[in-house]
Symmetry: C2
Subunit: 299 residues, 2 copies
Amino acid sequence: MFKNILIIGCGMIGSSILRGVISQKLCKSIYVFEKNSKYKKQIKKINKKIILIKKLDKEISKMDLIIISTPMSEYEKIILSLNKNLSHKTLITDVGSTRTNVAKLIMEKLSKKLNWIMSHPISGSEASGPKYGSKNLFKKKWCILIKNKKNKLLEKKLSRFWKKLGSKILFMNEEEHDKIFAITSHLPHLIAYNLIKTSQDFQKTNKKNIIKYSAGGLRDFSRIAASNEIMWRDVFFNNSKNMSKIIDLFIKNLKNFKIDINKKRNSLLLDKLKKSKKVRKQILSLKQDISKPNFGREN
Amino acid sequence: MFKNILIIGCGMIGSSILRGVISQKLCKSIYVFEKNSKYKKQIKKINKKIILIKKLDKEISKMDLIIISTPMSEYEKIILSLNKNLSHKTLITDVGSTRTNVAKLIMEKLSKKLNWIMSHPISGSEASGPKYGSKNLFKKKWCILIKNKKNKLLEKKLSRFWKKLGSKILFMNEEEHDKIFAITSHLPHLIAYNLIKTSQDFQKTNKKNIIKYSAGGLRDFSRIAASNEIMWRDVFFNNSKNMSKIIDLFIKNLKNFKIDINKKRNSLLLDKLKKSKKVRKQILSLKQDISKPNFGREN
C-alpha cells in the first residue's frame, strides 16, 4: 500500500500503529523517530524490521506516509523539519485529541505545498509507553478524520489506512470534533483528575488514609487520572473554550444535585438518577462497552 | 455456626450473602424474605434448600441471625416487625452504605432488648437483582463493622460470619465511616450521575448524538451511573451533611482547574496532573485494583 511509513513519537498509540502496520504489512519499510532512549529499547524488541532514525532530516523526503503521535506541544518543532524536507508527495497525519488548534497550526506554520490530514483514533488507556501498545488497539473503534477539501484522494488513502488497522471511519470538521470530545472525553478526564485532587485534599485535612477504602468507586476514577499528564495538559489547554463552557454546565448541575440532596427532593432526584440508565443502555446498544457487570477487575 | 439465618431483601448483595452462606454451610436452615416476585423466582433457582417466607411474623423469632439487605428506606417498617417478634437471642445486622442515620434509627426505634450490629461490605457493582449475586463477592474485600459497646460477644460472632464469606474486617464508628465513604464512594457516584446528566443536557442543546463517541472516557462513568437509583437516593439523602462539604471542595477544585486551563498555568497544572498518579500507585499497592491497563472492556 505504501512504500515507506514513518512514525514520529512512538509511545502507546504510536507503537500500536507500528504493530498494526507490521502485522497488516501496510508498507515495505517502516521507520520510527523517537527521542526517549528507554522507549527506543522497547521499540527495537517489537520487530527486527523497524528502522529507528536519529534525525528528521532530508532522509524523511522518501516517506509516503508520516504519522505524528507525539504530544501536541511537540508539533511546532516537527513542522519546521517537515517544511524543510518534504514534498507534496508525502501524506502527513497525526493522532492528537484536539483538532482546532492543530488546524490553526497547519494553516499558519505548515508549508502550503504539504498535505496533512488530521486523524483522531478513539482508543487509548491510562498506560504510557511502547510496551503497552497493541496491534488490536484500533479494532472496531472509531477513527475521526477531519474533512479536507484540498485533497480527496489523500483523504481516501488515509481512510483506507485506518480501516486496515481495524478502525471504523467518521468524518467531522475540527470545531464539531472539539465540541463533542470536550464532553465525551476531555471533561471525564478532568473530572477524574479533580476527584483525585479532592480526595488528596480530604486526606490532608482529615489525616485519614482513605485509599484503603477506594473499592467503592474512587479506584475507577484513579485509573483514568493516571493517564499521561503531558498529553492531557495539551488537550486541556487546546480545548479551553469548550472545556470552560462544559465545566460551567457541570458545576451548575452539581449545585442542583446538592440542593436536591439537602432539600430531600425525592421524586426529582429519583427521576434524574433513573434517566442515567438510558445513556448506559444507548452506550451498550451502540457497542461502546460490554454489559457484563463490573465487580472490580480482580474478579 | 448458626441454626437459622434469615435474609431480608435479596437483591444483588442479599443473594451474594445467600450464596456464600449455602456454599460455606454457615447454617442449618436458610430463610429469605423478598417482596419482588421476579426476584423470588430467581432466588428459588439458586438452591432448593432456600425457604422463602411470606411475612415477617412470629416465625422469625427462631432466627439466630437476620441480615437486612433492602434499601435503607425500608428499615423503619422492618424494625416494627423485629420489635414485635424477636428476643435478644437474635443477632441483627444490615449492609447499608451510610451508618449515622441507621445508628439513629436503631437508637430511636429499635426495642432496647434487641441486638443490631451494623455491617458495610465494600463490594458491589452497577447490577441489581439476585441473578447477579456471587458467593465470591466478598472475597478479600473489606467489611466495615460499626463498633458496638453493648455486646462484644455478638460483635465477634458477626465478625466470624463475614470472615467465612471471605471478607477482611475493619471496625469504625458511624461518624468516621460516613465521612470516609462520602469521599471514596458517595461523591464518585454522584459525580458519575452528574457527568451523565451534563452530557444529556449537552445532547439536547447541541442536537448531537454524542453517545457514539463515549469510548474516550464517558462510558466508564455511565457504568457507575447505571447503579440502583433507590439505593443511591437513600445514600445521598442520609449522608447529606458530609456530601455537601465534599461537593463544595470538589467545586472549588474544579474552578481552580478551570482557571489553570484558561490562564495556561503550565507548571501548576502539570504538577496537579502528575500527583494523581501517586494515588493510583497507593491503590495498586494496597491491592484495591489491578495494574493491567484498561483498553476498554471488550479487549
